[in-house]
């Protein structure tokens, strides 16, 4: 039980570091740590498939993509211009108001039931695969088209235009 609170604390700590780190590379590394703690959360809920997918897709693919982009973009001169303190303050107040709203809405519910895993193989690959390829077959195929179009779009956007075009 205390495992959850410890990991939750780590997630919040690292995600705060993500948005406060001055160097973008450090931000990305902290984001990797945050996603790792999220993977642990998935494992704690016995959602093994999502844990593996989170590990491979987010930490393996997306964050490496971020790192490569950051290396492509030459940030030697760095010194990202900071926003003025007033804007920062306003941003924190805005996010804080959002959080307070949600907490207030949560208070209205009162005490909640504990999260209990009734079916131990709910999040296993076998179970999820059956659902994915029976009920959600069409969205699955559509998402593959989405990925294809995203790939074509990314290549199209990132290549340099030729003069003849």
């Amino acid at each position: 039980m205390s495992t959850f609170y410890f990991i939750a604390f780590l997630s919040i700590f690292f995600s705060i570091l993500v948005i406060t780190a001055k160097n973008p590379v450090h931000s990305i590394l902290y984001l990797i740590l945050t996603f790792f703690t999220f993977t642990i959360h998935y494992i704690l809920m016995n959602a093994q498939f999502l844990a593996i997918v989170n590990f491979i897709v987010y930490m393996g693919a997306i964050l490496v993509l971020f790192l490569y982009t950051l290396m492509l973009i030459n940030l030697n001169k760095d010194s990202e211009p900071r926003k003025s303190n007033f804007v920062k303050f306003a941003g924190v107040i805005g996010g804080g108001c959002f959080l307070v709203t949600i907490i207030a809405a949560l208070k209205a519910f009162g005490a909640s039931q504990p999260v209990v895993l009734q079916d131990p193989n709910l999040g296993l690959v076998k179970n999820l695969g059956k659902i994915l390829f029976n009920e959600y077959l069409l969205p699955f195929e559509v998402s593959s088209i989405l990925l294809l179009s995203a790939m074509v779009g990314a290549v199209l956007l990132a290549t340099k235009e030729t003069k003849t075009a």
Binding site: V18, T34, F38, N46, V53, F66, I73, V116, L117, S149
Partner: protein, 109 residues
């Protein structure tokens, strides 16, 4: 695995919702506060992930596997979004030599 899933049994749903909202708000604050386009993008990823986690929690809470399938779709969507978004950022950098979003105010009314 048995001990792991027993670990979770005593945690109220409210604590999960609270935790995910905190992460989501941190993402919102990151979007509002930073000027580096890549860091803003990373904050968006943070928000997406907190929602994913909450969706999984509800899926476990209700004993319905559809929630986890949706999380899978959201992850595919996030991958596509990151590919296109980073391509756009690279193109912006090539045109303006900066990834400061305040340079990009030409679309402002």
């Amino acid at each position: 695995m048995e001990t792991l899933s027993h670990n979770i049994q005593a945690i109220p749903l409210n604590h999960y919702i609270l935790f995910c909202s905190v992460i989501f708000s941190i993402g919102v604050i990151g979007v509002l506060v930073r000027r580096n386009a890549i860091v803003i993008f990373m904050s968006v990823e943070l928000m997406l992930n907190s929602v994913n986690l909450l969706l999984t929690v509800f899926s476990v809470y209700r004993g319905d596997a559809s929630g986890q399938v949706f999380v899978f779709f959201i992850m595919a969507l996030a991958a596509a979004e990151v590919a296109v978004g980073l391509a756009i950022i690279v193109m912006i950098y090539r045109n303006t030599n900066s990834i400061d979003i305040n340079v990009l105010n030409r679309l402002k009314w």
